[in-house]
Symmetry: C2
Amino acid sequence: MIYFSGDFLKYIYFFEEGSKEQKNLLGGKGSNLAEMTNLGLPVPKGFIISTQACLNFFKEKGFPKGLEEELNSSLKKLEEKTGKKFNSENPLLVSVRSGARVSMPGMMDTVLNLGLNKKTIKAMTEKTKNKRFVLDSYRRFIQMFSNVVLNLEHDKFEEILKKEKESVKAEFDSDLTPESLQKIIEEYKKLIEKETKKPFPENPKEQLLLSVKAVFNSWNNKRAATYRKLNKIPDDWGTGVIIQEMVFGNLGNNSATGVCFTRNPSDGEKKLYGEFLINAQGEDVVAGIRTPKKIAELEKAMPVVFKEFVVVCEKLEQHYKEMQDLEFTVEEGKFFILQTRTGKRTAQSAVRIAVEMQKGNLISKETALLRINPLDLNQLLHKRIDPSQKLNAVAKGLNASPGAASGKVFFDADTAEKQSEAGPVILVRHETSPDDIHGMHASKGILTSRGGSTSHAAVVARGMGTPCVAGCEELKINYKEKIAEVNGKTIKEGDFISLDGGTGEVFLEEVKLIEPEPDKFFSQILEWSDVIRKLKVRTNADTPKDAVKARELGAEGIGLCRTEHMFFAPERLPIVQKMILSDSTEERKKHLEKLEEMQREDFEGILEVMKGLPVTIRLIDPPLHEFLPLREKLIEEVSELKSSGKESELKEKQVLLNKVNELHESNPMLGFRGCRLGILYPEIIEMQSKAIAEATKNLKKKGIDAKPEIMIPLVGIAQELVFSRKTVESVLKEIKETEIPIGTMIELPRAALTAEEIAGYADFFSFGTNDLTQTTFGFSRDDVEGKFLNKYLEKKILPISPFVSLDTSGVGRLMQIAVSEGRKAKPKLKLGICGEHGGDPESIYFCNSLGLDYVSCSPFRVPIARLSAAQAEIKENKK
Amino acid sequence: MIYFSGDFLKYIYFFEEGSKEQKNLLGGKGSNLAEMTNLGLPVPKGFIISTQACLNFFKEKGFPKGLEEELNSSLKKLEEKTGKKFNSENPLLVSVRSGARVSMPGMMDTVLNLGLNKKTIKAMTEKTKNKRFVLDSYRRFIQMFSNVVLNLEHDKFEEILKKEKESVKAEFDSDLTPESLQKIIEEYKKLIEKETKKPFPENPKEQLLLSVKAVFNSWNNKRAATYRKLNKIPDDWGTGVIIQEMVFGNLGNNSATGVCFTRNPSDGEKKLYGEFLINAQGEDVVAGIRTPKKIAELEKAMPVVFKEFVVVCEKLEQHYKEMQDLEFTVEEGKFFILQTRTGKRTAQSAVRIAVEMQKGNLISKETALLRINPLDLNQLLHKRIDPSQKLNAVAKGLNASPGAASGKVFFDADTAEKQSEAGPVILVRHETSPDDIHGMHASKGILTSRGGSTSHAAVVARGMGTPCVAGCEELKINYKEKIAEVNGKTIKEGDFISLDGGTGEVFLEEVKLIEPEPDKFFSQILEWSDVIRKLKVRTNADTPKDAVKARELGAEGIGLCRTEHMFFAPERLPIVQKMILSDSTEERKKHLEKLEEMQREDFEGILEVMKGLPVTIRLIDPPLHEFLPLREKLIEEVSELKSSGKESELKEKQVLLNKVNELHESNPMLGFRGCRLGILYPEIIEMQSKAIAEATKNLKKKGIDAKPEIMIPLVGIAQELVFSRKTVESVLKEIKETEIPIGTMIELPRAALTAEEIAGYADFFSFGTNDLTQTTFGFSRDDVEGKFLNKYLEKKILPISPFVSLDTSGVGRLMQIAVSEGRKAKPKLKLGICGEHGGDPESIYFCNSLGLDYVSCSPFRVPIARLSAAQAEIKENKK
């Protein structure tokens, strides 16, 4: 903070005094104007009232001490610099604009053409010989000022304007004659005097003071406050105010105005991309009254200006080392640049620009990598909705699996599968179950009305790379009538709908999709990432198909292979159910033998695909009742059968219901699952271990380098691991495959808290951060995601869902304890993460800082993780 | 360890060489014999082979090096001391007994009368002039030796004995003539030679060596191994072997044998308590052939001996400073003491003995307090089963609420209530619900077939002080037929059963109960405890009745008052349900207004009872669906109504089912409950805060010192507390009761991990260790207690249920983090525990070491907690 004459803060900075680093004090727009001025670029002269002045304005409920004096002296200085003067024959006209730390487009207020009054209108008219231009400028000034400063309704002014246009049959504003404009101005002034009981201010200084106050206050207008809330911008930043000499692009055919990107923001090509209008002001470009011309045509229209323009663009890129989005005006052949900022761009463009800027020696490889938001890579891997369409979502669910899809709706898997031959289909269900797999495979997208991001639909869809919107509670499905209602609208079977799995949006129409376009630039980024990163990237995959895809995308192993998904296949489920319903260990073993053969084949398939790379296979995890029919459904069926008289069927169902009741749990998440199953029924994990060991043996015989690792889930007590390990080891010994590492998941708080003891019996730890987040927060994901998590985000109780990005202070602290105490017990302990956070950039940064060995994520997240891991390492090295 | 001549371990210790501190080396019995010998008490001479010899015997699979030589020389020394000799005219007879570190009564083997053979029989007969005695001693020796050393079946010997008794028409062994005994001895020897192909050993040294080996080996017999497993005695302790000169209480009418406690083990009175038999051996007392006489009669029968005996008892108590349980023998007028040990006693007796020993200056107050197992106080507070009855439990459930009950079985609350007027009743249900409260109140005991220690039945019963056995899964109840089956037996309505809520046992008969008898000694112990302890003791109470009871038992406040239990009252539940089913905030507020009045009255009642003491009131905690009918039941009803044609009823139920479905959660423990409710529906906690504040105001007007504290449950994120606190504070401000402290429960891992931040917004923390244990372990208590926790205890995966005693390494570590970081943020933060661990002695020790301010437990646990808190402090000071 700079103090002025000992007592006062310095509040005002001329462009020459600032730089682009001073965004906090001068705002984004202001600091860039300062930067450009110092670069020697043709920026209209001006100064900035700092954000600190704004904050003090709020604190002191009025202009802070010294500001008005400073403003007066700055104005004098500006008059000297421009050679123009307020309220003179050579009048100074200025714009008054807001400029906060980050761009908040259109949220706050602007006053243009300030300084016009009777006297200066006359002078300007003489100077420009263009009465219409001057009067129109004045009209705009009054209208803006009335709206921004005097808080008068815009509509009343528009009405006056409209009336006059109608009476003289003018189509556009520009068709109005000076006489009409004069009339309008009179009307405006009458209206103002009537509403404010005061005449419109003639004195430019008064105009200026009032405008500055109004811009300060616009920081707290409703629009701006809402925007900040939505974009998580703190309320206590405040805005700067930029006071700058006006330049006019509408002074004739040697004047112009335009906007331009220094590279193509859509595909990234290094070529100026923008448009301009001859004899126009900025707002005319936006208003779309005349069609602007492509920037390339400026060369022909104003060759000298164009030359200068190209040089400026090059200079800006060289200086900012970033693609710029700039605004310019040509006033009577003189080129001015009014604004520059980093240009927004598509994912594809971002990747290409980063690579080409590195090749052009503008930036380092590290900077190139940091320029790309890893999550944007999703756009290059999945279909997306063509953004040129104007679409209204009819509902929003959870963004459960990325990508967009469009197709005909079907409410059951069989029909969906059948109809998929005729064209793209979308499967719509309350929730999906393993019975729906064939329909899910056949569908382009999946939409469910219940269930969270870990529901069956979500997990399976992510694995398949199929777009999915889950838990869309606004959707009321009626299976019997094959319709769904959503916010008053009806979807019938066969209707077209579209989904965006990246946003969770649902549309009641067919939409145009864009195919994913990974290109050489994409590959280059990943190549660089692989050189830099230390974290290995594995994948979560349960099938050879997923494994193939993941390997293609760069996975260096499987971090989580869930064996139970294999149990759900239609030909296996009955055997699994018989196994569960067995009354004796002998009977159970008999059914397990059949399953063993199948599991061995599964493992051979996956291990073969992943040859040479580690494959972590997790032993059975879910509670057994998940393999049996739903309790609610059985109760209903039994109840119905009772009145039907079908005795034998009733008896059979009743037996099944009894078993399901026996297995029923109030909180299955915290019940009889994970390693607890294998401790009470060792024969189940014996079967699985045997299948793994024999698969390995068989492949090795064929010369294939199979590298399985066995993972025991849900350990919370060291003795659980001791017990399970003993069971597994005795099988491995029998099959003579004793080299297979045995480790555990760390997915319960107690596992993390006692990691030192547990590490004594584990060859590796894999953080199961999904469950760890659930137990640490006491959040059942399926329950909280639909019910109150969104409200928590709205109310800022949480900054982001802890299921999306690792909660470092709670869950992360447990991980940190487990890492440091686990490694204390066993310095070479291999550490990884296999929760979904393994594919989230922020979480990957955290895992890197913890010193994990690898992250594991779903196949389509592998590229994202590769880039994030590199970014993590670059950030780590910068610290 | 003592080494002998540099090379060998010293394995053998004469009684004179040992002391009572050497239990590990010499075993319990041996070290006490040593101690008594050194006290100058008349102990028959002997020595001990150490437990180390036993362990080395196992290691070296035979007598360890040097042991045999040491045994020979020790024998020689014993011969010198006694003036008797093996295999001589003045023969030495010895007993060979086992003696481990702790007493394992009857588990290992003993050989008496060792040293008898042809030669010594003759000598003994001449010496005692009692051929029958000598031959009977020899017969017993052969029988014991054959069983213990030669592993021959006991039955075969008994058969020979029985045959002879029948042939001579002898009723008792003692009726047998020397001739018969001689015949039996011949038969025994023939049997032995036939079975072992060797004659019975004549050489006493051989007899001795074989017996010592057999005693060593008996450490590993099946009986002993099972006993150790049950009693958690390590397998690697080994046993000592005691070789001691025989003395005989059966040498005539100036001989006797007996057992005696130095005080009454049943009520604690300071008076010798025991019995003896003239002319008998120890086993005759146990065998119950003759009725032993009360010890007081010994004075008359043997006045000189009795005098010596009283002196010995006094000496023992003075020396051991503990009540002793001793065995003695009088051989021809000479008094010998054979064994002494700390006497087992009832809870009542323990309390009296501790107090009287302190008053008698034998022990300090601290020692007196440490002498009492706090849990034993349960026996003084609840009815218990008269231990004189021989009972067989038909089943065992969870010991959910202590005390015993006997009464007629009824399967529904209404009948139970009605029948309770006629006599004691026991309510038997699958599980209870708030609808059953009246029946539970009317019952002497409650038995459920489902649910854990936190089930409705268990929680309510503990609050009421009613005995309860919960989750007795062997019990199959058929409500329709009003019967229950349990392990093949049938219980009909109106049948008598009995429960022991302290052990979980169920009996199919009426049993005699003992009324609880807290007396002046009990009060004395608690008085001393109160002086010593630092931890305050509060209670968990939801009703004025519970509060009265708890205050009577010494509670210093309420640590947990659950407001939602008040919602379950029959006249309130419908209002609560309407509130939940409301479609708008307005409608909800309307119903809440009615509830507010009721809650205010509740709070006034409790706060008045507890005047002057703090009352922590927890705002609403359970998920809302707990107040609505069961989902399964509704599904069934809707399904039945569908076929009934009752359209309007069906519609109504369907609406209810839809709401229940909407509120349904997969894991309600981790769902929409606790502070989450008040964040989404602030009007609920506003109502509760208002009721608390107004109750306080009303009481204060009447001059009653109401001290409520408001507790926000299930906080895991500091912002949740900020939000809830703001809601509560705004109400308190409105009512002008802003002094009420606002705190939070720490019952989620994340709350503990971020305690420093949370403490910033909390006036106090109360550890909710029930939920904290559930989330830290990932154990849903209702699910794991019935399903696998017992298996975990059996397999020693856990040493004790973490719901009974705090898991210090996991849950305790989280508490420790919360305590130290919470106090770091706020040094005066008040800290308590209100989970059920607040009434568990071990957990209270831990809480004391953490530096908590108070523990809170159910009313009947308050005395236990007071004593435990004092013990904790004593132990802490000893460190």
